[in-house]
Structures are given as C-alpha cells and as structure tokens.
Amino acid sequence: MAKSVEETIGNAKKMTIICTKGSLDWAYPPFILATTAAAMDVDVTMFFTFYGLELLKEKLKLQVTPLGNPAMAMPMAGMHMSMPNIVGMVPGVSAGATVMMKNLIKKKGVASIEDLREAAVLSDVRMIACQMTLDLFELDKKDMIDEIEIGGAATWMESALESDINLYM
C-alpha cells in the first residue's frame, strides 16, 4: 500500500524559498526567514537561481546600491539621506553605500550574511544551486560553499509540492 502523506514527509512543516537576488540588502530576507523557520522546526529548502547564486559563493562580496532605489535612505547625523540616481552612478558610491550599510549592520547588532548562512548550514537548511544559472553565467561549483546540492526547476517543484509555504524573493 502507498504510504500516506504524513508517513512520507513526516510531521514537520516544510517551506521553500526561491532566492533570486544577490545584493547585500536582499540577501537578508531569505536567510533570516530560513534560519528562523529552521529554529521553529520547519524543514527548509532554499533554491538559488540567477543572482541569488552570489549568496552561495565561498567568499561573499555582496554590495548594496542606491541606484534605482528611491526608498534607500540611510540614517546619517540624525537625518535620513537618500541619493539621487545621478549621484548613485558616480564610481565608488555603491562601494561607499556598502561600507555604510555594513557599519550600520554591525552597530545595530544585526547578523552578517556569513553568520546567517552558517546558521542555515548548521540547522540543516537544504540549499540547491540552479544548474542552468551555473551554466549561463559560467559559475563554478568549486567557488561555492560545500554544503550545496545542484538541481533544477523539477527539484524545487518536488519540494514545493510537499511544502506548506513557498516564497519567492
């Protein structure tokens, strides 16, 4: 007799997150939710595709840019400063904004992406790198952390179909 759904997937709730963005700011939502869900006994699968693959590189060089982001106003000297696109285009501005944000992250006791990713690995979050994107952007699995597996859309679908929550970020 075929196994019931409960027998097959266990009692744990499941969640998948599709991670498509590779900037410092957008690296946070998927890793915060993945680690927190894992801490709440949810079985988590993260599927990294397109720019999201940046988040799996052994050495993270994530940047944040004010370009095209009118909502990005950084606290500065008691005020909030946003940046017109024309200024955001100047070489070095993104690097400067990245340094500013990293300083804020430290000052406010926010975890680094490296720490959150480590926490995800330690809590058995499953991380799948998209094979097609690896080919497309000529990325090498050797440059990524060891704990990943390689898969495609069907690998995510199988996981998504038995999940309670599926998020796209």
Binding site: I32, T36, A39, M40, D41, G109, V110, A111, A119
Partner: protein
C-alpha cells in the same frame, strides 16, 4: 529559577531566537532557559516561537528596555 542563561543583549532579529534555539537544543526536557534581550521585537517573537515549537514560555518581563524570558524546554 533558570538552569541556563542566554545573554542576547544588543543582538537584533533573528539572532535572539536562533541563539535561544541552539541553547534549548543542548538542554534536557524540563530545563529552563532564561533569555535576556534588548530587541523590542523579541517580545512578540518569543511568544510566537514558543507557541509554534511547543516549548513553554513560563514568564516574560520588561524592565527599562531589557526583556527577560523564561522558557521551559518541552520538545
């Protein structure tokens, strides 16, 4: 009262929860973990965490921007 104490002061979301989970994992059933936090979001978060995981939030208190939680490990 508590068997172990976790000082999560100065840490922001989701670190107090992640560290509390790690601490609870290393404890026996029925033992009590005290968490001290300064993250105002942790009030709602520890209640949700305990409701979801089945661990018992025995007590929580606020004192001058410092939040204290007593969590009994149930599962």
């Amino acid at each position: 009262m508590a068997d172990e104490t976790l000082d999560a002061k100065g840490l922001n979301c989701p670190l107090p929860i992640l560290k509390a989970k790690k601490a609870l994992k290393g404890m026996d059933d029925g033992k009590v973990l005290e968490v001290i936090s300064t993250d105002p979001g942790s009030i709602a978060d520890f209640q949700a965490f305990c409701r979801t995981t089945g661990n018992e939030l025995m007590e929580h208190a606020t004192n001058d921007g410092v939040y204290t939680f007593l969590i009994k490990r149930v599962v």
